[in-house]
Symmetry: C2
Subunit: 195 residues, 2 copies
């Protein structure tokens, strides 16, 4: 029995995510967010509780969706190496093509806020933990079916892949073209084959 909200929470959160994604946390002002979300300042504070709280909700939404996407791609049918290749290639981006190479919001946040914001660091930590689990499960399957080398634990190979992805995301923000990213990704993927 009250006045109903005039905007969609999830849609507003997505708009906020876009803003944080392209500019980073510190460089995104409330004015930027107001414009991106199409809302007045008061509405944002009432619905989300402030810049930091808004960022957390946007981050959670982003990480959750990204994780689900990866989990699905990794549990597809088809050979394990193909799934891994699809996931890695799916993350690439051309810094020349995109006006602003946003990279991955998770990585951006890890680098910008990881060492200073313990609450956010915790979220990012558990996200990368889940990501590692997803990769490790897929890699273990590959090890059982003979398409992935067995002389290294699946968990470690998973961490290696995530490290590669993060390195590629970083390179894509400035000095690595999409083609070069793909070449490097293939080098990493080659390393997973049984010898």
């Amino acid at each position: 029995m009250a006045r109903p909200r005039e905007f969609d929470i999830d849609q507003a959160l997505e708009a906020a995510t876009e803003a944080f994604w392209s500019r980073g946390y510190e460089a995104t002002s409330m004015a930027d967010l107001m414009q991106a979300m199409g809302l007045h300042k008061g509405s944002i504070y009432q619905a989300f509780g402030g810049k930091h709280a808004l960022f957390m909700q946007a981050l959670d939404r982003y990480l959750g969706a990204g994780l689900a996407q990866v989990q699905q791609a990794l549990s597809d049918a088809g050979p394990v190496p193909d799934r891994l290749r699809a996931v890695l290639h799916g993350t690439l981006q051309d810094p020349a093509a995109c006006q602003t190479a946003r990279g991955c919001l998770g990585l951006n946040t890890l680098v910008e806020l990881g060492p200073h914001d313990e609450v956010i660091a915790e979220r990012v930590r558990t996200h990368y933990g889940r990501l590692r689990e997803a990769f490790a499960t897929c890699l273990a399957e590959g090890q059982r079916t003979g398409t992935i080398r067995t002389d290294t634990e699946a968990d470690l190979l998973a961490e290696f892949l995530i490290t590669t992805i993060n390195g590629l995301q970083a390179g894509g923000k400035g000095y690595l073209s999409a083609v070069d990213q793909e070449r490097v990704a293939n080098v990493a993927l080659d390393h997973l084959s049984p010898s």
Copy 2:
């Protein structure tokens, strides 16, 4: 024939580097810099010309020193794999041990400012270009002496190594312990051996 400067430029620049390194560009205020450098605001503006100009000089100094260090380590005596291992291990850091895991200022800058500041992006781009050259030269030597695989170009292997390093630097800012970083580094280094 004028009043001499009372502080050391390079020392002040190093203090500024420390500040930018631990907090990032946006999150470091002029007040932070004043405290870190032990200088009054006017002196900083007169000597360096403003926050952005100061950051550029600090970044140049940092990247130059880092490149020289890597170049020296990569042209050491001893087997090529040992040199590469030394360089990779030299970049690792424990996020738990350090209060604030600063990572690498070059990577931090690439992620924070790469897509938005063309002047800085250019510096970072040429830095990573030189870094790739240094690694490629060392890797090519290893290929000639039989300690590095020859089925992949040295340039590509170099880019792969830099990608790994950047991924490790990122992981070290939040979710990867020094031990785990070392494990992943070893996986990447294993990939360089001839089959």
